[in-house]
Every structure is written in structure tokens, then in C-alpha cells.
Symmetry: C2
Subunit: 371 residues, 2 copies
Amino acid sequence: MSTTSRLQIPERLLLGPGPSMVHPRVYAALGQPVLGHLDPQFIALMSEIQDGLRYVFQTQNQMTIPVSGTGSAGMECALCNFIEPGDSVIVGVIGYFGTRMVDMAGRYGATVRRLDKPWGDVFTLEEIEAELKKGPAKLVALVHAETSTGALQPLEGMADLVHRYGALLITDCVTSLGGVPVKVDERGIDVAFSGTQKCIGAPPGLAPITVSERAREVLRNRKTPVGSWYLDLTAIEKYWGNARTYHHTAPISMNYGLYEALQLVREEGLEARFARHRRHAEMLWAGLEDMDLALHVPPAHRLPCLTTVRIPEGFSDTEVRGRLLREYNIEISGGFGELAGKIWRIGLMGYSSRQENVELLLSALKTILGR
Amino acid sequence: MSTTSRLQIPERLLLGPGPSMVHPRVYAALGQPVLGHLDPQFIALMSEIQDGLRYVFQTQNQMTIPVSGTGSAGMECALCNFIEPGDSVIVGVIGYFGTRMVDMAGRYGATVRRLDKPWGDVFTLEEIEAELKKGPAKLVALVHAETSTGALQPLEGMADLVHRYGALLITDCVTSLGGVPVKVDERGIDVAFSGTQKCIGAPPGLAPITVSERAREVLRNRKTPVGSWYLDLTAIEKYWGNARTYHHTAPISMNYGLYEALQLVREEGLEARFARHRRHAEMLWAGLEDMDLALHVPPAHRLPCLTTVRIPEGFSDTEVRGRLLREYNIEISGGFGELAGKIWRIGLMGYSSRQENVELLLSALKTILGR
């Protein structure tokens, strides 16, 4: 048998909401020989991955690990560990991923208090406080970067507010981590989760999560077992903590890829990385507006990692995206739910956030839209 | 930046209970460019992966997919989709992985009827029937290949028996799939799950699962939502079925690896693969017995994929394994739970099942044990 894979996938320009493109060094890491999940060399690598995740989450939290699933597993892990049946939970919905948290929290027996705002909007501190005033809540779950709308939820002062009412703050950072500051410690966020396939620049398959001491105390004081065995942090922490006790077989190769992607983040530096994401986003925004296209989210809370632009009248969503894919090998994405057929979603995340990608996409759109 | 990974992992001879070694073609596939999870090319690949899984499970089941987590996620998926709070569930425990199913079933609200036998033993049809006679059960969960003991549970007639009592048969095939016949359709198994990192020969990260029409009917008739969002087959089937509706971002690169590993299985042919696993296992058994070492499981239900051998008196478990790792670069594993310190576990699975590996291990053990 030959050692060449039969699989020959041509490289796409991934400019959708994720997965984003992957650096050649990360691909090379994926192909490193598999080690046992209790091999001393892998154990050492786990500590380095945890350090890298702390760097990008901007935290000193001891419990900072990659959950062995994609971003949605991270979301479920962040919720199920802190919810016991009957708990009152506030979930902010500013897009699709808020509704997903409502769904998950309900499955774990929470009494969900759902706050809705139009898709594309964000919450103010006053709006969250008004709900907190209505009665005690165990936690408040908000989406930091709403991948379905392109809105960036401001978090300044949010954790302090939530803590004053005795609750925990959980944030969905799937599309923000590595692209904009998350600042877990400075902001006092209790639980933040993400995925590897957006601004971190690794393939999908792992879900970084970080948990504050305050949240760990809540975890320790649970009266019932965590609803999910696979996502039970009380057991997972024994593998990723000092004991290194077997829980499940970690996805070894995916962890190699994450290690390498985190090394690339370190080499670039977080501040430079944030500036790069912003610079290319602004270039894209200016180019789209030059074509008289309307951006869906106002500048004040517009997410640099993922831009949403309204589909101009007279053009078909799928036809334009089909031409981009066929003629330019570029993937962008359409809208979800109430924004389906109304917007395109353009991601400039991680290794995809490059000037040449912005220029090519703008040029392609100009041609296809005739502007 | 260079395109060479900083990560330089030396290859180990992985002869433990998994992960097992990975063929160079599978490594090459892992490094193929990431596609979007809704890209037409990836969608086409999904169908090929499903066909490959049907081949190795020996089934025509439409619902045959890789769950986006490691083997334990497959186990949880197999249980949580078919358990509703209050359901009566029979779980056979012949080793550690049976106890894990007891734990999981309890978390999803089942009334668990636990059957225990000594670790290394297997159940007879009569023993299962005696429990079924005591009262109705929704399902019977058995471990086909008990990774903690090296026992292979016979399944002939088991599904017919379980069906006569109106229950479903769920089997843990993590360490059997691809190494010994699983024969899902011929045996009438309702739900079988596995991992990619054992006899399939891909890295850990995905959990193949197959679900019979009978089990799908039970799924359709649920009165409550599935306890886990991430593992909810009613939603996952819309992504892997004809609709291709987004549920979560699939681990793209891991699926490339699984595709290639399944291609290798096809090229070798299932029967030849089973024969290879048996041939090398018998070579190992004979060599161990030549050294006057005692095998833990009697030949009648000894698993070819994973051999358990009793640690001879006067030798330290960890010292011998440490020398194998340091001096020969070979990983084998110790025992679990009540077998800790009493046995070694030697895996000859997938790409690890090679004659030269058996010979080197036997030679190394001879030297270290002075036999």
C-alpha cells in the first residue's frame, strides 16, 4: 500500500463563519505520531496546551482545558456543570446561539428566563439588571460574539453586576477567542468557552473552556451528579489536573493541532493578533460600503471576526454564494433563522484574516454584483 | 514563520488498549485542507464515511454515523437517546466499561438493574434471560469487548432473546469493531458504538455508532427531549441524513482520517483483517505461555484484539512497563479497578497488529523478565 492518502481535497478560501483556514504548521502537527493518552510526553504537552489556553483566554484559572468535542460540546459543558434541576437561569438571546443555550439549559432541568432582543442587537447592563431584580438566578449566560448576527456583546461591568446578584456569568466566546480581547480575569467572567476552528486557527474538534474559582466552588457544592458523563468537569479535571486519572481517551491528534495553533498565537502576540483582525475587518467594511452594501450591525458593537452584510435587492443569496464557490473557490455563508436570505456572513478569523483574502473577496463581489 | 511544526513527537510502538498505531496514509489524510462542514465536497465525503462504517459494522442501517467525540461520547450517545427518566434498564458488568454504562444510565434517569460477573467472565443467554423474566426492561446494555479484562462477550442469540422480552440490545464495540466480527444485522443488534482509535486504526476523536430501525422507532416515540443536546440523534440525523441541516460543526480533519482508515479496511477486506488480528493474537498467546505466563481470560471467550496476561510474582507492574517504554519504546498498559497491579493489557489492534510487533514485544519481555 502506498503512503499517499487517496483523499485529495483542494484548498478553499474559507471566509465563512468557521471553520476558518489552518496554518501549514498546524496541519504538520496533526500528522505527528499518536501517543497514548497517559504517555508522559502527552501529559507534558497537555500542560503546555493549558498554558496556551490561559494566555488566549487572558486568565490564570487553573481549570482551563480543551473539551473533547466541537464548540457546541463546550457550550453544553459550560451549562450542564453549573445547572441542577430546578435552577433559575437567565439566558440572553440576540441570535441563534442564544436560543441554543435556552434549549440546552432546559434539557438539564433549568427554569429558563429568556431575554430576547432583535438579532444583531446587544444587551445593556440595565437590561440584565432589570431581569436580575425580578428574583434570584443561579447564572446568567450571554453570547460574547453572536456568530449568527455578527454582534459583539460588551462585557465591561457585566460580571460585577451579575456577581452582586449572587449569580455566575457564562459567556459564549466561540467566535471571539483569539480575535478580540476576552479578558476573562480582568472582566471577572466565571465560565468562558470557545471552539478551535475560528480565531484560534486549528481544525474543529476541541472546545476550550475556562472556569473561575467562584464557579468551581459552585461545582463542588452540587447536590446532584452532572447530567452528562462525557462533559462532567468534576471527572475531567482529574485527568487535566494533577492526578492525571483516566477519564476518556483524549483526541490526541487534535490536541497536537491545538498546541501548534496556540504556539502561533504566542509568536504573533495577542495584541498584534487583535489588531490584525480589526485592520482586515475595517478594510472589508470600507470595501463593502464602497459598493453601497449595508452592514447589518452598527459600528459600536460590530464584531471584527465576522461581518454581516445585507444582501442587496435583486440578488439571490444562494446564487451569489454558489458563484463565489465555483468561480473563486471562496466560501462565505448565508444567514440563520430570522436572518436567512437577508444577510451574508463573512469571516476573517485566524489564518483566514489576511489582506489578500479581503482584496480577492471584494474584487469577486464587485464582479458578481456588477458594482 | 516556517511551515515545520515545532512539535516533534517520536513514534511509539503502541501495544496498549488504545490508541493504537496509525497508518501513514491516515496521517496524510489528517493534513488535507479543512473544508466547511456544509461544503458540497465534505457532504459527499460524509456519505462515503457512512458507507465505510456500514461495511465494518456489517449493517445496512441508515443511521450509521461517527459521533463527534471519542468512544465514551459514543457510549453516552447510545444510552441517552434511548433512555427516558424512569425507564428500567439492564446493564451487564463484566469489567470497568460496564460500570461506566451503569453510571451514565443513572445520570439519564434510568432505574438501572445491574448484573455483575467476575472481571474476565462473560454472560450466558440464561443469565440475561433470568433478569429479563423479573420484569419489563427498555433495554439491555452489554460490553462486546471488555477493554479492561480482554473478554469477548458472545452475542449469538442475544438480540433475539432481548427482543422476545420487548427490549433493545445495545453493545459496546469499542475494542471489537474492525478486529473481530460485529455483525450488527445478522445478530440483530439494535445499537452498537465504537471508537476510531482501536481496530479501525485512526486517531481517537470520533465514535462510530449504528442504530437499527427498531431503535429508531423507540427514538421517534420519546415523550421527553434527549437529555444531551450535543449527542441528540434526532437532531444529528438531520445533518448526516438527507436534509444536511446544520447541527454542530463536525470535526472535519478527524473525518478525513476516518475516511482513509475505512478505505484501508476495505482494501484489506474484513475477513482478512479479522484473520490477521486472530493470527497475531495467537502468536502472542503462544509466546506468553512459552514464558510460563498465565493468560487471564480462558480461550473460549478471549478477545484477539486485547490480551490480558497475569503479572508474574516478584515483578512490579510499573517497573516492567517503565522499562518497556524507556528501553524499547513500547507502550503496554496495566489493569484497572480490581485488576490493577494484577494484569498487563496488550493490544494488537488495527495497524499495531503486525508480526514484527509481536516478536519485538515477546523478545523484550523475555529480556526484562529473564525468561
